[in-house]
Each structure stands twice: as C-alpha cells, then as structure tokens.
Symmetry: C2
Subunit: 467 residues, 2 copies
C-alpha cells in the first residue's frame, strides 16, 4: 500500500472508530484467525469490524463508501469458493455480533433472525418449539443465516423444502452507500411490486450486506425413516428415485447418492464402519419425514420390499435408532479421510439427472487419462440435479496450473449437458473464470448491470463472482 493510500485508510479507520465501540474494531495486524475453513493461512485485512446492529452496519458502509474502501462480509467462513476470503486492502465486516434470534412464531410459522446466527443454533431453537427450520447442510455448526442467504445455500433437504431462496420470506440488507433496504415480510405471498430481496439472495455479498431475515418454518416432523441402499447400476438409482418420488410424495426429504469409490474410500480402515457391504456400484441414502410413525414405517418397509422384489435394491440397511441414523449420515457428510492427502479439488456441479451417469463416466475417464494415478469421488443430491466431486490428481503439489487443468476437465465436459459449474457453492473468486461455461454473455451483462446499479463503486466483495 502506498503512503497516500495508507493515510486514506487511516482516516477511514479513524472515522469508523467514532461510530463503533472499541471492541468492535480489530486492526489488521491484530487479527488472529485463519482465512477460512478451507484455508488455514492467517487472515489478512486492513481491519476486522464487528458491528452490533443494522444501524452500525449502515454507518460502516456509509464511511467506507465515502473513502471508497472495499469491504468483504464474513459470516461463518465456510464458503467453498473464496467469496469471503479477504485481502490486505479490504476491511472485513463480520456479522458475528448480529447473533440474535428475534422471534420464533408458531402460528405464523416464521422466525426472524439476525444474519450472524449460526444455522444449527436456529435449527435447535426451532426444534425446542416443535418447529423445523428445514435448511440443513454439513457446515450447520459454523455457517450463518446471512451466509446461507448470500450463497443461496442448498444442502440435504432441498428436494422437499427448497433452497434458502425458497425459505426466505423477508430480508434486510445494507447497500454499499449505507442505505438500509428493509423488507421484513412475514407472509408466504406478497406481490406488491418487485421482489427486491431476490437480488441479495445468492449474490454472494456483492450487492448488499444482509443483516436480518424472516425465514419460513414447518412443523417438526413426527416420524423419520432412513435407509442406506446398495445398488448395481445407475439405472437402479433412477428407478428408486422415480418410485420414491411418487410413493413418498410430500414426505421424501433426502435422496443422496454416493458413487461406489466414494463409499469405499470413506469406509476404509480408520474411516467409518460400514453397515453394509462395500462393493456396490452406488449407495443411496434415503430419508422420509412424516407425521404418523407407525403408518409411515409400514409404508416405508412396503416400498423397500417392492423395490427389492423388482431387483432395484441389492442390499439395504434401515436405521433402527437415532444413533443408527447419525451413523449413516456420517458416511455421507464426514469425508475428512478423503481430504487427508492433498491436493484434492472440490467440485459442485448440476446437470439434468438423465445425463448424470454419462457425465460422471466421461469425467472420470478424462481425469484418469490425464493422470493415471488420480482418484475421483462423486456423491450428491441427485434428485436436485447436484453432484459433488473430490478429485485427487496425485500429480504433484497444488499449483494454480494443476487446479486449472483439473477445472477444465470437469467444466468443459459439462457444457454439453447445459449444466451449471456451481450447483450450490456459488462462484466467488475460484470459479469466476469459468462463469461463461454456464452463463451466456447476455446473462453476464445483465448481472454486471445490476452490480453497477447497486454498487457502482464496486465496494462490496469486489472481484467476487465477476470482475
């Protein structure tokens, strides 16, 4: 940073000190935390600000706007695409003190929360009132509602309850100049002109800082059935999907698929114990949440029997207790063992279900052709059109060039199927160079026009999503 810039930044920080409490400002040299869940390097930033409420967020943005100071908003720092990783010239606006659950309203089935509330905290508070906040994902213990909004989080219950966008009824956000846009609607329906909140959902903090949200709740389910199924072919997966979609209509809440190599890798010695044999082609983890434990259990058993008789199921294990259920989900969610030998590159694509088998086969083939020792692990929320990949090239250290080559192998094959380079993780910094693989020039022009309209100075999460 040149001297003039330093002075300018110092003035900005001085002015910020006048509107925030002392303990809400940590200067860059004193910031003591890692960059993110995925990057243990130390955080680098001009300063870390922790405003206490929307009005303080507005003041922060007003001052930063005056000084043309770039700001990156951080929630739970679990972002997979470096959307919220700061650089030394940026100020971090952390939502960690915006951590109040303002209300959980049973009759209206809504909760009003501040952006920094951790997802699991909200989930638990709702369950205590016999209500369910149905967004759920692996990072539930760290990620925040504001981050969930900003990335339009998906996760394991999208099939039944939708993405975060479908669960947000109202929103409050602060624009880059400090203007507070408050749309804390509580109703399922509100067509009084444009739905302004949609802009902020999924735009990764580049259009506004989300400060509060009203989210939709549903009654806590009264029953839960979980099964892990081993099948031979992907056509069996499709058959099970079509049949359960129809026969468990309305109550099917998760339909996760693990390709054989993923299942084998996470159940190696030292990994999870496997409740089922390890050599199947695919593993389906299926869950239904209903309202009549006894009847739902019968329905579920009957369906599994029929699928077995039709030959779609090779082997299956039904969870007999909550501990069983947790064990099955850990196989799906805890993939630490795969991450042990780096570099491993993470992908999160979506494409039509009918093209999935072909795409995965093509991709594995292409990666193997490039790097004969490589390993590719696929799993995902198939019914949502979403597959996650872990690719370990086994071809040397994690260089930018290696990552690039791998990206090209994964994304170029995708274009043929009109798929998306990001199903739920977003674009951030990591994927922006690949954006044109799934978005047309016209679409990107419209996006840039929106950014220019709401943040002409490019102060909010600059350089994320696109330049």
């Amino acid at each position: 940073m040149a001297l003039d810039e330093t002075r300018f930044a110092a003035s900005c920080l001085a002015e910020l000190s006048s509107v925030l409490q002392k303990k809400s400002i940590i200067l860059g040299c004193d910031i003591d935390r890692v960059a993110s869940y995925w990057d243990v390097a130390p955080t680098r930033a001009l300063a870390l600000l922790m405003p206490n409420n929307t009005s303080e967020v507005s003041e922060v943005m007003r001052i930063c706007h005056k000084y043309k100071q770039p700001v990156v908003t951080q929630g739970g720092k679990t972002n997979c695409v470096q959307s919220a990783n700061s650089n030394p010239e940026e100020i971090i606006l952390s939502t960690e003190k915006l951590n109040q659950i303002e209300s959980i309203d049973i009759v209206n089935a809504v909760a009003s929360v501040e952006a920094g509330v951790v997802l699991q905290t909200l989930q638990k508070a709702c369950l205590e009132k016999d209500m369910l906040f149905p967004l759920d994902l692996g990072s539930r213990g760290s990620c925040t509602i504001g981050g969930n909004v900003s990335t339009n989080a998906g996760g394991i219950s999208v099939l039944r309850y939708g993405m975060m966008r479908d669960l947000v009824l109202g929103l409050e956000a602060v624009l880059s100049d400090g203007t507070i846009v408050s749309s804390m609607n509580q109703m399922l329906k509100n067509n009084s002109a444009y739905d302004v909140k949609q802009l902020f959902i999924g735009s990764e903090g580049t259009l506004g800082v989300v400060t509060r949200a009203v989210v939709k709740l549903v009654p806590k389910p009264l029953s839960c059935q979980t099964v892990l199924i081993g099948v031979v072919n992907f056509s069996d997966v499709i058959e099970i999907l079509n049949e359960t979609r129809r026969r468990l209509a309305g109550i099917l809440s998760a339909f996760e698929v693990m390709w054989g190599p993923y299942f084998q890798a996470v159940t190696e010695d030292g990994g999870h114990s496997s409740p089922i044999s390890r050599g199947h082609g695919y593993y389906v983890l299926l869950e239904a949440e209903g309202s009549d434990p006894e009847r739902d259990d019968q329905l579920f058993q009957k369906l599994l029997e029929q699928l077995y008789l039709r030959g779609a199921i090779e082997d299956a294990v039904v969870a007999q207790s909550e501990a069983d259920r947790i064990g099955l989900w850990q196989i799906r969610e805890d993939f630490g063992v795969i991450l042990e030998d780096t570099p491993v590159f993470l992908y999160d694509v979506s494409l039509p279900i009918s093209s999935m088998e072909e795409y995965v086969d093509l991709t594995i083939k292409a990666v193997k052709e490039k790097w004969s020792l490589s390993e590719v692990y696929a799993l995902g929320h198939i019914a949502d059109g979403n597959i996650h990949f872990f690719v370990r090239p086994n071809a040397g250290p994690a260089t930018f060039s290696l990552h690039q080559t791998c990206d090209a192998l994964m994304y170029k094959a995708l274009k043929k199927y009109h798929g998306s380079i990001s199903a739920e993780h977003g674009i951030g910094i990591e994927k922006k160079q690949w954006l044109s693989q799934s978005r047309s020039e016209t679409e990107i022009s419209v996006m840039k026009a929106l950014k220019h309209t709401l943040d002409p100075e490019k102060l909010l999460n600059p350089g994320r999503v696109f330049d």
Copy 2:
C-alpha cells in the same frame, strides 16, 4: 395523437410489417376483442402483434425501441389490476402464438413451454404423462404461463408447492431493446452467479417480455381427500390449520377459508347448492394429496374425528367422488353471483395469520360505518397469509372516487399489521397509488433503479407498478 406522432407510429408499424407475417399484425381500428376479463370495453391500441417465436419478439422490441414505442404484453387477459390493459398509444404484444409445449420430461421432472401456453393446457398435458404441474388458480382455462410468471401467480396450491416463482427453473425473456436473455436452466440448483430470472418473475412485464420457461413438475398424486368444514370461531380455523399442517405434513395441498357471509351469498337460491348448513361462522375447504389411497383416507378420517371430538369442527362433509370434489371447489371458485350487482371492488391482501381475524373485523366495521348498506365478503388462502375481499358499497355507481374511498378503508387498516396490499394479483395500474402502504421509499427507489437499468426508455408496460 398529433400528426407527427401518427407519422412516427406509421413508420414503426411499416417496419414491424417487414419482420412479421401479415396475419400477425392487426391494426388498432381492426382489433375486435374486449379489454380484459374484468373489463368488457373494446380493446384500444395502436396495433395488436402476435409474434410466432422469440426471435420475432426480439425483432418487435428492437423496432419499437428504435421508435420509442411503448409496448404492453398480453397473455390470457385475466389480470386483476389492469397490468395488461392497453391504451390507444400502445402496441399490444400478444403471446397467443407462442403456444407450444416443447417438452415434458419425466425423469428430470421438468417441462419446457412457450409463454402463451394456457395453464390448463399444460396441466392436462402433464397429467397425461402422470405428472402434475402444481400451479392452480381459478383462471386456469384462460391465463397463460407467461402471465403466471409475470405476475408470480399463486392460487390454491401455494401452501404445498409454492408460488410460480418457486416452480420456475429456467426462463427466457426479451429486454426492451430486443436483447434475448435466455436462462433455460433445468436443474433445481444452479448458483452460477446472480439468478437473473428472478427479475422477470413478478415484475408484471415491466422489465422484459417473457417468451419461454422451464417449470418444475411433481409426480401426479395417487390419492386425494377433500373436506368442507363448518366452524364457529376463527380460533377453530387456526386450530384446524395448526393440526393439519402437522398431521398432514407434506401432503396438505389446500387450506381455503370462506367467511360465513361469503358462503351464504354464493349458496343463496339460484347459486350453488350447499352440502352443509349455511349458518356457520367460517368454512374451511381442506385438501390433501397423497400417495396411498386407502391409508391416506384412514389418516384423513382419523384426523377429522379427533378435530370433531376436540370441538374444533361443527359440521363437515367429505367428498365421496370427483363430482363431489368439484362441487365443493365450485363454491370456493365460482363467485359470479356476488359480481352480479355492481359496483363490487376486489381486494387481495396478505398479512400475518395471527392478525387476520382482527383485520377482517376492523375492515368490515369500517366499511359498514361508511356505507350502512354495504356488503363485505372475505375468503382466502389463509395458510399463505392471503385474504381476498369483495366489497359492495351499495352507495351508487362505480365512480373513481367511490373506489378510492373503499381502497383507503381497506389498505389503511392493513398498514398496522405490516401486511401487503397485493398478495398475488400484483400492482398494475389499479394499486400503484397505494404502493407506499406496503413498501418503503427505499424499496421503491431500488425498484425504480432496476426499471431504469433494464428499460431506461420506459417502453415495457409503462405506467404499470409505478410511474
């Protein structure tokens, strides 16, 4: 229209004639149809254009943009707030020839359709393939998919399946300068940068002309239970709602409530025959769609018995056949008898469920105090927070001033509850003067900035939503 303007319009029309077939252009003087479902006055417009495909829509907009010619897009002309009523200086762009269902894909559970496809046509085509397109509303026989997108249509199944916004996966729209923005995504998940399609959904044709859409389908339900319930108090309605939300979680698909006076009015001599006594305080029309006819029927009966024993239900009739079911729904949907003696003003508000009883009581009181002979009929999708009203002041002819006075009575009481002046009908021309009752100045500023970004010349549905 002054002479110069006439010449200018003539040049524009001449140029349009060069890109459209002759039969796709009808000049203003030859247009022979009514203004809309709600207004039988003859259509007035410079011309009526019926392009055959997106590329022709693009050409139309390019030419109109060159001549700064305002365009109003028309679908099924069932709009309740005059969004699509043209004036003599406007060109009508009708989507009636964009009427192809391009595909219905069972494995991926999506349909791709042109904007002018009538909702019921799509519903029927999906049912033939054992799939359900779950949007449903009274005007299903006339309204179009494009109109459903533009108004973010709601209707009777929102509780289970969401508004149109929740059912649109992909979209194609033409901007005011003719640019085609095509985002025909087929996946439930796609977070590759901003979700541009959200802009066009619910913006009533003011940001772009919707030409095609990819919509979400679900398997056709295998069972259906319908019941009409008479209850004494609104607290019974709430109890039934809470209990059915929990006990029929996932399969409850409609929860309609008719206030006593509405039910009595539509079942007067010459109206619908009533399958239940006519003097109850409220009538609940409840429907569940499941996947196991026998079991679902038992579940439904058991629930009704429990509610009866608890005293929440005064009387009830369960549909025993499809004919019964249609009969029950006609009471809810066919309110022609109420419209017979004009003027009747139509309202469509939303507010938190817990405030509904108070708001309706206050409103009826206020209207009665103003016009002692007035009649107020309320009904709605309560679980969605949505109430429709028909208000007949019985105070002389339908003057602008009478309508205004009535609007003021309805909307001013709403502000207290942070309700919306439009739950699902939109703003159009009719409600724009009341927009600030449910939207802040800041929200409206953001909306206007979006309009300016995408349609700076104000050519698309000008004067609708806001000026």
